[in-house]
């Protein structure tokens, strides 16, 4: 008997995990179901009340300013009162001050994660949503840097979602100019050694200069990929090219206050003058045009095509993707000039993506989303509704490094991580109790991948709760 796994692969590997009824919708035309999702508008989040990054950063800057003036006032008061007068009340006030910024930013982060989760549970275009997550992880920022806590979600909303069905070139530019990325990789203060500002500072015996962080990670992670043959000199030159890519509304006086707080602003006085050579090409443009030209070339370079193709193939085919599939996707990238829907079509067209169901071990995020979708769980307000990500080991927007979360099975299949999934599934099943009829859920969520062993184990379960635990911990539910 030959089973048709295609609908289960479409829903669980390409999508975010089947909703009840989804496999029926997919029917026998799995590729058509995926293809249809690539047509239509950009996958914006439905009305959520989430605010633009500019507003968030503007408010954060205002709070910071307030804190500074209160600190100054407090310091003045303490000095006036004389030594030894600082009191316990003073220190608890100080703590309250310190907490004001996180108290402003944290609820924004929670709301972003909730909106994203609600959308994932409901969406009829889960393959496009997975692609959003893919790019969000490709262009990762991490909230362990407080500067991006409030804007990690808006990077995805403002830079990634509008371009996920567009061109890689535009996606790249939107991301590198987004305040979250500039803040995360420290570019807003990188100063050309021969720029107007650096020279002015030098006269006052202050040194301002380059910060290589953004330039390096663009080359290494966002475009060419490590091993593409660029050198330290390329990194330094590119860092010079990117000087001036900054944000509006500095805290200093004079020209640094230009622009809208938190919005991308090219600051000519920070920019390193002159031509630069990056990855064997010369760039003699002035101002922001120089950086745009480099990004354009990087976006379309062959190593970039291979790098992106390898990551897509690893995500959708196997940890060690077949070279033929990588080549095919890379070719689609190059031939189309980075037209993303054509790249995605090449992924769907790879036979290898369909031949081995369950080749990928779910990440904690995959696992949790597939549970939410499979059981159509509501996402309540308040922080508890997103705690599952933390417990399972993938706190949202916190990969800890600009490389993003890893994407191989052995990065996620640890013993302790498995136990977390089992305990989480069981706690959830106990809470839901007998409220779910588990019997038909298996085939509905897993289609042809639903095994006889799991079917038998569910049939023998003593309670519906236990059956649900057994379903959510079944080997075929832990993989996609």
């Amino acid at each position: 008997m030959s089973l048709d796994y295609s609908s289960a692969v479409a829903a669980n590997r390409f999508g975010l995990g089947a909703k009840p009824g989804e496999l029926g919708v997919i029917g026998t035309d799995a590729r058509g179901w995926l293809e249809a999702q690539l047509r239509g508008p950009a996958p914006v989040l439905p009305a959520t009340g989430l605010r633009p990054s500019t507003d968030i950063l503007g408010d954060a800057a205002a709070i910071r300013k307030q804190l500074q003036s209160q600190r100054r006032a407090a310091a003045g008061g303490a000095a006036a009162a004389g030594p030894g007068v600082s009191s316990a009340a003073g220190s608890s006030e100080a703590l309250a001050l310190v907490m004001r910024l996180p108290q402003f930013l944290r609820p924004i982060y929670i709301a972003e994660v909730q909106a994203r989760l609600r959308n994932a549970v409901a969406t009829e275009r889960p393959w496009v949503e997975r692609l959003v997550y893919f790019w969000s992880n490709h262009f990762a920022v991490s909230i362990d840097k407080q500067a991006v806590l409030g804007v990690a979600g808006s990077l995805e909303r403002e830079a990634i979602r509008p371009h996920v069905l567009g061109n890689f070139r535009e996606l790249l530019l939107a991301v590198e100019q987004h305040p979250a990325m500039l803040l995360y990789l420290d570019n807003q203060r990188s100063v050309g050694p021969n720029s107007v500002l650096a020279q002015r500072a030098a006269r006052r015996e202050r040194t301002l200069g380059l910060n290589e962080n953004l330039a390096r990670e663009i080359l290494e992670l966002h475009t060419l990929g490590v091993g593409a043959g660029y050198t330290q000199a390329d990194v330094t030159s590119f860092a010079k090219v990117l000087t001036g890519w900054s944000l509006g509304g500095g805290d200093g006086a004079g020209p640094m206050q230009a622009g809208v707080t938190g919005q991308f602003l090219f600051r000519p006085q920070l920019h390193e003058p002159g031509a630069q050579t990056v990855f064997r090409r010369n760039y003699d443009q002035s101002d922001q045009a120089q950086g745009r030209a480099v990004l354009n070339d990087l976006a379309l370079a062959s190593p970039t095509a291979r790098h992106i193709a390898t990551k897509l193939a690893r995500h959708f085919i196997a940890d060690d993707p077949p070279p033929a599939a990588v080549a095919r996707i890379a070719q689609a990238f190059e031939r189309s000039g980075g037209d993303l829907p054509q790249v995605y079509r090449a992924v769907i067209a790879c036979e290898q993506a369909w031949q081995t169901p369950l080749a990928k071990y779910k990440t904690p995020q995959d696992y949790l989303l597939s549970i939410y979708r499979g059981l159509q769980l509501p996402v309540a307000d308040g922080p508890r509704s997103i705690a599952g990500f933390d417990v399972l080991g993938q706190r949202q927007f916190s990969p800890g490094s600009p490389a993003g979360w890893p994407d191989r099975s052995d990065d996620w299949d640890g013993a302790s991580a498995l136990m977390k999934r089992i305990e989480f599934a069981d706690a959830l099943a106990q809470r839901l109790g007998g409220a779910r009829t588990v019997a038909d859920l298996g085939p509905q969520l897993l289609g042809a991948t639903y095994s006889d062993e799991t079917r038998t184990s569910l049939q023998r379960a003593v309670t519906d709760g236990q059956a649900l635990t057994l379903l959510l911990t079944a080997p075929e539910f832990l993989r996609r």
Binding site: S190, E212, A415, S416, A427
Partner: protein
């Protein structure tokens, strides 16, 4: 048979290391291991993100240091924010109070200019090399420590697992054929035995899941009572405000260290524990005697004190290696931080370490001395240090070290004398 040369160069009493004996047969350079010093413990703490060695171990007496570092420079000992005195040339970052005490107690060996064989500047590849023990990233899917544990002599093998990762997933350095455990505190209620048995039955036909579940059950049940995890639990439960870095990180490290110690103290526990520390990637506002990096170092330092206290009578038989993937630029960058560099500092800490010394063939910080005119030049290969610990402390044989654990490491010879003499 000590073949490394102790050459007191000057009042810094630097130990001259390196490739002087380049032509000698490698095996001959190992000292003969004494009968197994049983029950040795080894802790490897990975400092992910590229630690700024020049701030952790400031060479305040180097004539180029203050100029290169500007406001990041840490001053000579004396004063409130000076370096903590070591040997008159190097100091320790003022956040490393416990490490400084350990130095005084001859339990800390400071290695100010080390690197792996990796010479590019990608964190991710650099960490891969730090963990795979080879010269190239992605050269193998196993870690040097696991390859060593595969050959652990029976005297140092107590329980089923010879190593434990204090993490949800096992890091590369511990991946391989030797059985290792991973452990991180759970915040969820235990399952009932019947459900667990049914899950185990279902996994019987799935080799990976069967193995992982067995590992989890073996480590989980025995650790449950030993490690209470209130700090991490409340953090992982979500909903907590993001704490000021120092507080939440301190809680996590302390918990991790206590748990590691719990494993290592057990009679049938693993000989080796590995865990990560993060946040060393200081491109912006790194700080000098005060500031971001000092705070992080101080948090780490406190957890090391906890480690010593919790290990108790096991501490004299313990070696802790702290190492990072590479160092940072010798000069400060334009945003009061430092960019990716080459050599960094590493530390050997513990009762079994022949400490109270700074071990450096110091390359200097003059423009000519810098690697590619920008980074501190490495003068000691981390693999030499790793070999020495594995050989003298865990009794891994020279043949295994040269052929299996660190192939192609001829340029990184074993060094004798890093550990106390009864160790080797």
């Amino acid at each position: 048979m000590y073949r490394s040369t102790h050459v007191p160069i000057n009042r810094r009493s630097l130990l001259k290391l390196g490739l002087a004996a380049g032509g000698a047969a490698l095996a001959a350079r190992y000292s003969f291991a004494a009968p197994a010093a049983s029950q040795s413990r080894f802790v490897f703490i990975i400092m992910r993100g590229a630690l700024d060695g020049l701030s952790a171990v400031p060479p305040y007496a180097d004539p180029d240091y203050a100029r290169l570092r500007g406001e990041l420079a840490i001053a000579a000992p004396s004063g409130t924010d000076g370096a903590l005195a070591l040997d008159g040339f190097f100091g320790l970052n003022p956040g490393l109070q416990f490490m400084h005490e350990a130095y005084g107690a001859h339990e800390l060996l400071v290695l100010p200019a080390v690197a792996t064989g990796y010479r590019e500047r990608s964190h991710f590849d650099g960490q891969d090399v730090l963990e795979n023990g080879m010269t190239q990233p992605h050269a193998t899917q196993t870690g040097w420590l696991n390859r060593a544990l595969t050959n652990l002599p029976s005297a140092n093998r107590r329980g089923r697992e010879s190593g434990v990762a204090l993490a949800q997933n096992v890091p590369l350095v511990l991946l391989g054929s030797a059985e290792v455990a991973s452990w991180s505190p759970s915040v969820l209620p235990d399952l009932d035995d019947d459900t667990m048995r049914r899950i185990a039955d279902r996994y019987a036909t799935d080799p990976l899941l069967a193995r992982r579940l067995a590992e989890a059950l073996a480590t989980g049940s025995e650790q449950a009572e030993q490690a209470s995890a209130p700090t991490m639990a409340s953090e992982a439960a979500g909903g907590q405000a993001v704490q000021p870095v120092a507080r939440s990180t301190a809680g996590r490290y302390t918990e991790t260290v206590r748990t590691a110690a719990g494993f290592l103290r057990r009679d049938d526990g693993p000989a080796v524990a590995v865990f990560d520390t993060t946040g060393w990637d200081t491109h912006f506002n790194e700080g000098g005697a005060q500031g971001q990096l000092r705070t992080r170092l101080s948090v780490l330092d406190q957890s090391l004190r906890t480690l010593k206290e919790t290990l108790g009578d096991v501490w004299p038989r313990t070696v802790v290696l702290l190492a990072t993937e590479f160092g940072r630029t010798a000069a400060a960058n334009g945003t009061r931080g430092t960019d990716h560099g080459t050599a960094s500092a590493a530390f050997l800490l513990g009762g079994a370490v022949a400490g109270g010394r700074v071990l450096a063939d110091w390359p200097g910080l003059s423009a000519r001395a810098l690697y590619q005119q920008r980074d501190l030049k490495p003068t000691l290969d981390l693999r030499s240090v790793m070999k020495s610990v594995l050989h003298d402390h865990l009794q891994i044989s020279a043949g295994v070290l040269e052929h299996d654990v660190f192939p192609d490491s001829g340029t990184a010879p074993y060094i004798a004398g890093l550990l106390r003499s009864h160790e080797a």
